[in-house]
C-alpha cells in the first residue's frame, strides 16, 4: 500500500538510551562478579544484548496487527508452556521456572508470557464497543490474565506473576475504567490482603514481614534489605568506583549481578550515578509513552502503554527494593540485571514499541 517501511524509522533515541543502560549494566555485572562463579556473566550478557537486538528487529518487522490476529493462539501456547514448566520444569533455586531450550540456556516462560499479556490486553481493549470499560468486560479480561498468573504463582514466582497486573491496570484505565472501580479494588485489596497472606509460601511471608521490619531478622530475609541499604548508603554522593564497593566485592550484598545489581551500582557510582541511570530509565519510559501518543491506532497505543507500564513496574519494584522501599521480590531490573530470558523479553517488547512506531504514518 504505502510502500515499504525503512530501518531509519525505528526509534533511534530509544535505542541509544537502551544501549547506554545495557552498557552500564554490563560494566556493573563485570564489576560485581569479579572472582565469583559468575565472572563470565558479563560477556554472556553482551551476547544476550546482541541476540536481543536481532529479536527486536524481527519483532519490529512483523506487523503488530498480524500478531494481534494470533493473540489467542499465543495465549493458548503460553498456558500450555506454563503447564509444561510446572510439570517438567527444571528445578532451580527451589522453584520451577525454567525449561531447558538449549545447552546453557533455560527459557523462563513467564518472562515471555508478558509479551502475550501485552498483546492480549491491547486486543481485548481495542475490541470494546464503548469508551467506558464495562464491568462485564473488566471481569472477563481479569479472568484471562489471572489464569497464567496462577500458573506462574504456582511455580512459585509471585514477583513475575505480579508484573502482569500493571499491564492490565494501565490498559483498563486507558479503556475508560470507572474510577469507582479503582476505589473498590483498593478496598478489596486492603480487605483481602490479610487472608491472602495466609496462602503465601513461608519464604514469601518472611519476605513480607522482613520488608515491614528488616532489622527484626538481620540474618534471615531482612539480611538482603539491610545489606542492600548499607551498600547504597556507603556509596555516598560519588560512589566508591568500579570494583571498589566493599559490600559488592566482599559479597555482603546478595546477588549483586542480578536482582540487586542496582544496589551494587549505587555503591560504586553513588547518588550521581543513580540519578543518571534513573534519568535514562525515565527518558526511556517517556519515549515509549511518546510512541503510544503517536501510534496509528488504539491497538498500537495499548501495546506501547502496556510495555511502559510493565517497565515502570519493574523499575519501581526493583529499585524500590534496593532502597528498602519495596518488599524483596525476585524481579530483575530490566536491561541491567544479568539474565537471558529477562533481557530477550525486554528487547522483544521494545521490538513491539518500534513495530508501532515504524507504522505511525501508515494511515
Amino acid at each position: 500500500m504505502s510502500g515499504y517501511l525503512n530501518l531509519r524509522d525505528i526509534d533511534w533515541g530509544m535505542l541509544v538510551i537502551v544501549l547506554i543502560i545495557c552498557a552500564l549494566g554490563v560494566v556493573q555485572i563485570f564489576s560485581a562478579a569479579i572472582g565469583t562463579q559468575w565472572q563470565d556473566a558479563w560477556w554472556k550478557q553482551i551476547i544476550w544484548i546482541v541476540v536481543g537486538l536481532v529479536l527486536m528487529w524481527i519483532c519490529t518487522a512483523i506487523d503488530y496487527h498480524a500478531l494481534m490476529t494470533r493473540v489467542w493462539a499465543l495465549y493458548g501456547l503460553s498456558l500450555v508452556l506454563l503447564l509444561a514448566v510446572l510439570v517438567a520444569g527444571k528445578q532451580a533455586f527451589g522453584s520451577t521456572r525454567w525449561i531447558p531450550l538449549a545447552p546453557g540456556f533455560h527459557l523462563q516462560v513467564s518472562e515471555f508470557v508478558k509479551l502475550v499479556i501485552v498483546l492480549l490486553v491491547a486486543r481485548f481493549m481495542t475490541e470494546l464497543r464503548g469508551d467506558n470499560l464495562e464491568t462485564r468486560d473488566l471481569l472477563k479480561i481479569m479472568a484471562l490474565i489471572v489464569a497464567p498468573m496462577l500458573l506462574v504463582i504456582k511455580e512459585p514466582d509471585l514477583g513475575t506473576a505480579l508484573t502482569y497486573l500493571p499491564i492490565l491496570a494501565v490498559g483498563a484505565v486507558l479503556a475508560g475504567l470507572n474510577w469507582r472501580y479503582v476505589v473498590v479494588a483498593a478496598v478489596i485489596v486492603v480487605l483481602v490482603l490479610p487472608v491472602g497472606v495466609h496462602f503465601l509460601q513461608p519464604y514469601q511471608k518472611a519476605r513480607l514481614v522482613s520488608f515491614l521490619n528488616p532489622e527484626g531478622d538481620p540474618r534471615g530475609t531482612g539480611y538482603q534489605v539491610i545489606e542492600s541499604k548499607i551498600a547504597v548508603g556507603a556509596g555516598g554522593m560519588w560512589g566508591k568506583g568500579v570494583a571498589h564497593g566493599t559490600q559488592t566485592q566482599l559479597r555482603f550484598l546478595p546477588v549483586p549481578h542480578t536482582d540487586f545489581i542496582f544496589a551494587a551500582f549505587a555503591e560504586e557510582h553513588g547518588f550521581v550515578g543513580v540519578v543518571v541511570v534513573l534519568a535514562l530509565y525515565f527518558m526511556l519510559l517517556m519515549q515509549i509513552v511518546k510512541n503510544a501518543q503517536t501510534a496509528p491506532d488504539r491497538a498500537g497505543m495499548y501495546i506501547c502503554m502496556g510495555v511502559a507500564a510493565l517497565l515502570l513496574f519493574h523499575v519501581l519494584v526493583n529499585v524500590g527494593m534496593v532502597v528498602g522501599r519495596m518488599p524483596v521480590t525476585g524481579i530483575p531490573l530490566p536491561l541491567m540485571s544479568a539474565g537471558g530470558s529477562s533481557m530477550l523479553s525486554i528487547f522483544l517488547m521494545l521490538g513491539l514499541v518500534n513495530n508501532v512506531r515504524v507504522r505511525r504514518f501508515v494511515n
Binding site: M1, S2, Y4, L5, N6, L7, T60, A61, D63, H65, A66, M68, R123, T126, E127, R129, D131, V170, V173, L174, E227, K229, I230, A231, V232, G233, A234, G235, G236, M237, T246, Q247, L250, R251, F252, F271, V274, L278, F282, L285, M286, V289, A292, Q293, A295, D297, R298, M301, A308, A309, L312, V315, L316, V319, G320, V323, G324, R325, R359, V362
Partner: protein, 629 residues
C-alpha cells in the same frame, strides 16, 4: 532494509467484532496522567537514594566498614609463676582454640558443630546466650585445648560449604604442676563469670576474658595477665580473610617470682600426702613464705579450660573441702602451741619469773571447776612447763595474767586478725577478750573462761599462717613481718612489740627442750641443727559434750617449729586435722626443716648457730612417748 508492507485486510480479519478503532488520541488525558505518575514514582525512588546516600552516608559507610573489617584477638600469654630461685612452677603451653563467628552463624549449624567438637549442645547455646548483649562481630571461643581430632575437624569444615563460622586461633594455656602441687597458693584461672562482670573491680574485663580466680593467679591477675593484641583483617561475607590491615601484637603478662622454695614446698607436699591439713613455712626475718602446702588438694589444670560441671560438683561437694586453703583459712584452737604466748606474756608483765613454780598433781581446781592435766608432772617451772606442756602450770599463769593481758600479747603476736598475706580470702581467727565477749555475746567475761584460753582452748582460734608468724616473731624478739609471696614486694615495716631478750631466750629455751630434751616434740629433732618448737593438740569437742556421751572427733594436731633458736631463719607451722597426736605433726614439720637444712648443706652455707650434736639428749627414738598436749 525493507519491511513487510502493511496489509490493510488484516485489520478486518482480526476479529469478527467491529473493526479495530483507530482513534488513538481518545485517551490522551489518561496517558498524561501516566506520565505524571511516572514522574512521581521516579521522585519517590530518588528520594530513597537521597535518604541513604546524601543525608547520612557516614552511617552506612560505618556499617559497611564494620561488615568488612573484623578484629581477631591475639591472646596475650599470662606471665609464668616462678619460685624464689627462678624455677618455673606454672608455665604456659601453646594450644589451639576454635572461635565461632556469630555474624555468619547459621543456627542449624550449631548442632553438627557441637557434635563434631564433642561439645554439649545445650552448653553451647547457653554460651551464645551469654554473649547476646555483645556486638555481633566479636567472636566467641567455643573450645580450648583442641585435640588433634578437633583441629582436623575444624580444618576440614571451615570452608564455605560447611561451617564458615569456625576459625582456629592460637592460645597460650596454663600448665599447672601435677597432683595439685601448691594448688591453693597458685590458684587457677577461668573465664570471667557473669556475676563478676557486674562488679566494679572487674569492669575493665570483657565477656570471655580469662582471669585469675583463686590464689596468686587472682591476687596478681593484673600483672600476670598482659594485654591481648588484635589482628585487623578484611573479610568477605563468608568470614574468609582477604587482606590483613594491621596487627597489634599482644603484650605478654609479667612473670611472677614468688618467695616459695620448691624444695621446701615439695617436702611439705610429700609430708602431708594422704593426710588432711596444712604446712606453712615462713622466713621470720622478712615474712617471705617459703612453703605453703594443703591437703586435700585439687588439680588446677581442670580449671584452665572451662571446668566440667561434674568436676566442679565433685570439688564443691567433697566434705573435706579441697578448695579450702587451710594454711590461711582453717581456723582451729591452737592448743598448747599457745603456751609460749602465755609464757612470754607472764614474763613480760612480771606476773611470773623463772623462779615461779607450780605443783602439778594431774589437775587443779579453779573457780569451783576441776581442770585436769594429762599427766602428773610434780613441781613445774617455766622451762619444764613448756617442755612437758604442763597444763596446770599454764592454768595458773593464765589465771594470774587475766584474759585481757593474754589477749594483748596474742594480738601483738598477730592472732585475731588476718596476717595480711597477699592471697585472697584469709581468715582472721579469734582472740577472746572481755571486750570481745561483750561485743559478741553482750556478756561479761568470767574468770573461769580464762583457764581454757591459757592452754589454747576455749574460743581461741588461729590459722596456720598466723601461728608460724606469731612464733617466728616471738623468737625474733617481738618483730612480726607481714607474710608475703611476691619476691619483689617492698619490705614493709614489721609490727614490733619489743620483748626483753632474756625473756625471749627463756621461752625459746623451753621450746628447744620440747624437741631436744625429750619433750613433746622429739619427732621434730634433726641431728646437727637445733630445732625449737611447740606441739599442740586441740580438742574439737567440749568436755561437756563428751560427758554427754558424744562421739569425739579426732583431735587436731599442731606443731610449730623454728631454727636456729637465736635469730631464726625459718619457722614452720603444721596442722594435721584429725591427726590426734601433735607428735605426729612434729614429724611432718621436721620434713620441711630437714629439707631446709639439707639445702643449706648442699649449697655449702653454714647452718647458723648450729650446735654440735647433743650427746646429752637420750636418743629421741627410744624415748618413751611422752607426748604432751
Amino acid at each position: 532494509m525493507k519491511l513487510l508492507p502493511i496489509e490493510p485486510e488484516t485489520q478486518h480479519e482480526a476479529s469478527s467484532k467491529p473493526v479495530l478503532r483507530d482513534d488513538p488520541k481518545f485517551a490522551s488525558a489518561r496517558i498524561a496522567a501516566f506520565q505524571y505518575i511516572t514522574v512521581a514514582i521516579f521522585l519517590f525512588l530518588i528520594s530513597g537514594f537521597w535518604d541513604l546516600q546524601v543525608r547520612n552516608p557516614e552511617f552506612y559507610n560505618e556499617l559497611a566498614e564494620r561488615n568488612r573489617i573484623k578484629s581477631l584477638p591475639i591472646i596475650a600469654p599470662r606471665g609464668k609463676i616462678l619460685d624464689r630461685d627462678g624455677r618455673v612452677i606454672v608455665d604456659n603451653h601453646l594450644s589451639w582454640s576454635v572461635i565461632l563467628s556469630r555474624e555468619t552463624l547459621k543456627p542449624e549449624h550449631l548442632r553438627p558443630i557441637a557434635d563434631g567438637l564433642h561439645l554439649d549442645y545445650d552448653d553451647l547455646q547457653i554460651q551464645l546466650k551469654r554473649f547476646q548483649s555483645r556486638p555481633k562481630y566479636e567472636p566467641i571461643i567455643i573450645k580450648q585445648e583442641l585435640t588433634p581430632a578437633d583441629i582436623a575437624f575444624v580444618e576440614s569444615h571451615k570452608d564455605p560449604d560447611f561451617f564458615p563460622e569456625l576459625e582456629l586461633i592460637h592460645a597460650q594455656r596454663r600448665m599447672y604442676p601435677q597432683n595439685g602441687f601448691a594448688a591453693h597458693v597458685i590458684g587457677y584461672t577461668g573465664e570471667i563469670s557473669e556475676s563478676e562482670l557486674d562488679e566494679p573491680e572487674f569492669a575493665k574485663y570483657d565477656t570471655g576474658s580469662v582471669i585469675g580466680k583463686f590464689g596468686l593467679e587472682k591476687q596478681y591477675n593484673d600483672s600476670l595477665m598482659g594485654v591481648d593484641g588484635q589482628r585487623e583483617v578484611v573479610v568477605d561475607n563468608r568470614g574468609r580473610e582477604r587482606q590483613v590491615l594491621g596487627i597489634k601484637e599482644a603484650i605478654p603478662g609479667k612473670n611472677l617470682q614468688t618467695t616459695l622454695d620448691l624444695d621446701l614446698q615439695a617436702a611439705a607436699e610429700l609430708a602431708l600426702d594422704g593426710r588432711k591439713g596444712a604446712i606453712v613455712a615462713l622466713d621470720p626475718r622478712n615474712g617471705e613464705v617459703l612453703a605453703m602446702a594443703n591437703r586435700p588438694t585439687f588439680d588446677p589444670n581442670k580449671f584452665s579450660v572451662r571446668i566440667k560441671s561434674s568436676d566442679w560438683k565433685e570439688l564443691v561437694d567433697n566434705p573435706d573441702h579441697p578448695l579450702l586453703n587451710r594454711a590461711i583459712q582453717a581456723q582451729f584452737a591452737p592448743g598448747s602451741t599457745f603456751k609460749p604466748i602465755i609464757a612470754i606474756a607472764g614474763l613480760e608483765t612480771g606476773t611470773i619469773d623463772d623462779q615461779y613454780t607450780v605443783h602439778c598433781p594431774g589437775g587443779a581446781t579453779f573457780y569451783g571447776h576441776f581442770y585436769k592435766c594429762h599427766e602428773v608432772d610434780g613441781t613445774v617451772s617455766l622451762h619444764k612447763g613448756i617442755v612437758k606442756s604442763c597444763d596446770v602450770y599454764f592454768y595458773n599463769v593464765g589465771n594470774k595474767l587475766g584474759i585481757d593481758q593474754i589477749a594483748l600479747f596474742a594480738t601483738q603476736a598477730g592472732y585475731g586478725h588476718p596476717s595480711g598475706i597477699d592471697l585472697p580470702g584469709e581468715a582472721a581467727g579469734v582472740v577472746p577478750s572481755s571486750e570481745w565477749k561483750i561485743r559478741n555475746f553482750r556478756q561479761k567475761w568470767y574468770a573461769g573462761e580464762t583457764i581454757s584460753v591459757s592452754i589454747g582452748q576455749g574460743a581461741t582460734t588461729v590459722t596456720p599462717i598466723q601461728m608460724a608468724r606469731a612464733i617466728g616473731g616471738l623468737a625474733m624478739g617481738g618483730i612480726w613481718y607481714k607474710p608475703h609471696l611476691l619476691k619483689s614486694a617492698k619490705p614493709e615495716p614489721p609490727h614490733q612489740y619489743p620483748l626483753n631478750p632474756e625473756n625471749v631466750a627463756k621461752v625459746v629455751s623451753g621450746m628447744c627442750g620440747v624437741v631436744n630434751e625429750g619433750g613433746t616434740g622429739v619427732r621434730a629433732r634433726i641431728p646437727g641443727i637445733e630445732v625449737c618448737g611447740k606441739t599442740g593438740t586441740a580438742q574439737l569437742a567440749s568436755n561437756a559434750f563428751l560427758k554427754r556421751g558424744g562421739k569425739a572427733p579426732k583431735d587436731n594436731a599442731w606443731f610449730v617449729g623454728f631454727t636456729p633458736p637465736e635469730h631464726p631463719e625459718i619457722v614452720v607451722a603444721g596442722l594435721w586435722e584429725g591427726g590426734e597426736k601433735s607428735a605426729y605433726t612434729a614429724a611432718l614439720v621436721r620434713e620441711v626443716l630437714k629439707a631446709w637444712s639439707d639445702k643449706k648443706i648442699r649449697l655449702g652455707q653454714s647452718l647458723v648457730a648450729a650446735r654440735p650434736p647433743e650427746p646429752a639428749a637420750s636418743q629421741p627414738e627410744e624415748t618413751p612417748a611422752t607426748e604432751r598436749e
